[in-house]
């Protein structure tokens, strides 16, 4: 275990919530609405949550077998040294890529709606700088910092939704299940991949101080984000209708712009940008932490902090080359590749590893929930 930090089960729950929601609340509604129309909230609430619970179960089962190691540390043990190390290296690369996607999501959002002329590189440097500083301080500090950000995040978005709630036209949420369950399943693909980010549990489990509450935190986080994301989606569609919302890139931003209370409380989109940045810094920090721990454990290093800086630079370069100025590429990735990519990384491979571990009788405890 490379990080000596300890986090409580509540902190774990909040961190995992933030890992998913920090970007999902803004990016998902539009993508879901394109496929599921007025039923989008069902996709987000039902199908995606079911998938998230499956991921949580597998991750907790794996965690219970190897309670004091992160995913990449026990891979060689389960699969044998060479394949294990190879898969660990592959996972590190995957994580670096995922992190660059988040970096790209952030700079594109800020760049398109807010700072039109600031070079995205500067935005990236600031955000990544803050996140990397958190990583240097360790997982414990991240969890505590998140305890501060989380209530602000939840409260601000709830208030934004409440302020725009009187514009909701319930007609926009009808008809329910007009085309059967297929669009709902289709719409759930992208949010499910997001909900599956609860698989960061694989890398945070060792730091948990009450291991028996892992499943509770993981399931709690999945359910909580299910309800939260469904509320955001339902309000978005209720106000804008799925036809308009699916055409907007950031419908929640438009929602914040649409607020008008007594002609005074208007133009609140800046709050949304503050919320977004606070959330993304936490999300990025957790991603960087996991990346660097994975890289360090794969390479057999003593201190994970050595790898943070190169990884941070790598993500900035990758996101700059791939996504920074090309919104279409990012959308293509998020809506076409990310679901399958996500399912493989989050559910399929950990599931197979669990299977192998059970068959080869690796790891300590039995799988018991």
């Amino acid at each position: 275990m490379l990080d000596k930090g300890r986090i409580s089960s509540v902190q774990l729950m909040l961190v995992l919530f933030m890992v998913e929601m920090a970007t999902a609340f803004l990016l998902v509604p539009s993508i879901v609405a394109q496929a599921a129309g007025p039923d989008s909230w069902l996709s987000v609430l039902g199908v995606a949550t079911a998938y998230g619970l499956a991921v949580a179960l597998i991750c907790v089962a794996l965690g219970k077998r190897f309670p004091f190691q992160v995913f990449t540390e026990y891979l060689p043990e389960v699969l044998g040294r060479v394949p294990g190390k190879l898969l660990a290296a592959a996972y590190t690369v995957v994580f670096i890529h995922l992190t660059s996607v988040v970096v790209g999501e952030n700079s594109i959002f800020i760049h398109t709606v807010f700072l039109r002329e600031t070079p995205p590189l500067i935005i990236n440097l600031m955000m990544v700088g803050a996140a990397v500083y958190g990583v240097y301080l360790g997982v414990e500090v991240l969890a505590r910092a998140n305890e501060m950000v989380f209530p602000i995040f939840i409260l601000s978005i709830t208030i934004l939704l409440a302020l725009v709630a009187r514009e909701i036209d319930l007609d926009h949420l009808r008809p329910v299940l007009a085309n059967g369950p297929l669009p709902v399943l289709k719409g759930a693909m992208v949010p499910a991949a997001w909900r599956g980010e609860v698989f960061f549990l694989l890398l945070l489990y060792p730091y948990l101080n009450q291991k028996n509450e892992a499943l509770k935190s993981a399931a709690g986080t999945v359910l909580m984000s299910g309800v939260f994301a469904a509320t955001v989606t339902a309000v978005t569609i209720g106000v804008f209708s799925d036809l308009v919302a699916s055409r907007q890139i950031y419908p929640v931003l438009n929602l914040a712009r649409y607020i008008s209370v007594a002609g005074i409380l208007e133009r609140l989109e800046l709050y949304l940008i503050i919320i977004w940045m606070a959330g993304v810094i936490i999300k990025l920090a957790v991603f960087y932490h996991s990346c660097s721990v994975m890289a360090a454990s794969t390479l057999g290093l003593k201190d994970y902090r050595v790898t943070v800086f190169p990884i941070a630079l790598a993500t900035i370069v990758i996101s700059g080359r791939l996504y920074e100025t090309d919104y279409l590429k990012l959308v293509e990735f998020l809506s076409k590749f990310w679901p399958f990519y996500g399912y493989t990384v989050e559910l399929l491979i950990p599931g197979l590893i669990l299977l192998v571990a059970v068959i080869r009788k690796k790891g300590g405890n039995r799988v018991d929930f």
Binding site: M126, S241, R257, Y258
Partner: protein, 432 residues
């Protein structure tokens, strides 16, 4: 050792962050100072033909920067707020092949960068509206400055002239319009009301068409009005003004809201008068308050009622033979506001009779609105959407032919208004 190493890393990171923060705190990268921008308060978009080629004419009603005190200005108020003279706006219009082309051409005409974020109203000229506003709506939704709450209105004639018309109460036309449109909804409900988002949604939704406020320009009939050409305080006609000569210029006109401009698809196909618009607002649940005059046992209207808390329910019914019917129920409360020569006694049967007359009047207005929209073949009520929302299967079958079906649907309107209040006198004033 480890302590020193840790300390070193911390120092380096700290110094790095310090430098980064101090670099980024110095100011905004893309700052736009107040004296570098034009605050657009309303935009007008016209389609005109120049040299046989159709182009966009983009007009901006900009808040004119305050002249520092000490300048020889008419008001001479000075101070920080600047002089308050009639019309603090300047209209500047530019031409372009597309809307954004025209917007950027603004920089060839003025020294300041255009800042659209404070636009309160988008005015479409008549030709523009008739030719189709789809392209402009795409632009407005696509770019980040124009807000979803911006009112959309259609004017008679050129939008540029509408922007040049004079406000009568506020300092600038756009502010006056911005206040008038929602005010009308609660005071008279005789003007369609739609903002940018609503128009976009109505155009996107199958089985629903857009109807927006309509404005007209006129020379104020009141001789004391400073706007009239015969008045004393004249603003010199700008070189970009339309026509000139004997024609009364836009600067000598004021504007009024008037009914609704009705669209089919993204093209304006006609207008509704005030009564029809009110009927439409009743059905669309947008009539928040207004007056219904009735003729109570008299040849002409002799009593008026104020309505409020109006709720309309539209229920689509598809009969077995395939004919489509809409049952509309409108409930509301009314207050007696005035009556002539004690026509209505406060006895129960008179109240009943009055309620009946009110219901008839409301029904008449709604039917008139329906008839007009059928005539224009434009489903401004969203009847088609109602079918889609409640009977998606049936809608799928008729969606492609809705344009032909809508004019032959049967609409029945039942109004049920209750008199709840009689004002401050309970016995009528009987003239002896």
């Amino acid at each position: 050792m480890t302590f020193r190493k840790k300390f070193k890393i911390k120092t380096i990171v700290g110094l790095f962050l310090l430098v980064l923060i101090s670099l980024t705190m110095t100011g905004c990268w893309n700052r736009r100072e107040m004296n570098d921008i034009t605050l657009s308060t309303a935009i007008g978009i016209d389609r005109v033909v120049v040299d046989g080629r159709p182009i966009f004419l983009f007009s901006v009603l900009a808040a004119r920067p305050a002249v520092p005190s000490g300048g020889a200005t008419a008001g001479g108020g000075g101070g920080t707020t600047g002089p308050r003279v009639a019309g603090v706006g300047t209209v500047i219009s530019t031409e372009g092949e597309t809307v954004y082309d025209a917007i950027r051409n603004y920089s060839m005409r003025t020294s300041r960068q255009l800042f659209l974020s404070h636009s309160l109203v988008i005015v479409f000229g008549e030709e523009m509206a008739k030719e189709g506003i789809g392209e402009v709506l795409d632009f407005c939704n696509r770019q980040k400055d124009i807000r979803e709450r911006t009112w959309v209105v259609v004017c008679e004639g050129l939008a540029r002239d509408a922007l040049q018309s004079q406000p009568e109460m506020e300092s600038i036309t756009s502010v006056e319009l911005n206040k008038m449109i929602p005010l009308n909804q609660s005071r008279a409900s005789k003007v369609a009301i739609a903002n940018l988002f609503q128009v976009t949604r109505d155009l996107l939704t199958p089985g629903k068409e857009a109807a927006v406020s309509n404005i007209k320009l006129f020379v104020p009939p009141e001789t004391s009005s400073p706007i009239r050409p015969t008045g004393t305080a004249q603003t010199p006609g700008s070189p970009s003004g339309k026509g000139g000569g004997a024609e009364i210029q836009a600067q000598n006109k004021t504007f009024a809201l008037s009914g609704a401009a009705v669209f089919r698809g993204d093209r304006m196909v006609g207008r509704m008068d005030e009564e029809e618009t009110q009927g439409m607002l009743f059905i669309k649940n947008q009539a928040d308050g207004g007056i219904i005059p009735i003729a109570f046992s008299a040849p002409e209207k002799n009593a008026s009622f104020l309505y409020r808390d109006v709720k309309a329910k539209v229920k689509p019914v598809i009969n077995e033979d395939g004919s489509i019917m809409f049952e509309i129920r409108i409930n509301g409360k009314v207050e007696l506001q005035e009556q002539k020569n004690a026509a209505i006694d406060i006895a129960e049967e008179d109240i009943k009779h009055a309620e009946e007359l009110i219901n008839q009047e409301v029904e008449r207005r709604c039917i008139k609105a329906v008839a007009r929209s059928k005539e224009l073949k434009s489903d401004v009520f969203g009847f088609g959407e109602k079918i889609y929302r409640s009977k998606p299967k049936a809608w799928e079958e008729i969606q492609s032919q809705w344009g032909e079906i809508f004019p032959i649907v049967i609409v029945s309107v039942t109004a049920d208004f209750k008199i709840e209040h009689l004002g401050l006198i309970n016995k009528p004033i009987v003239i002896q």
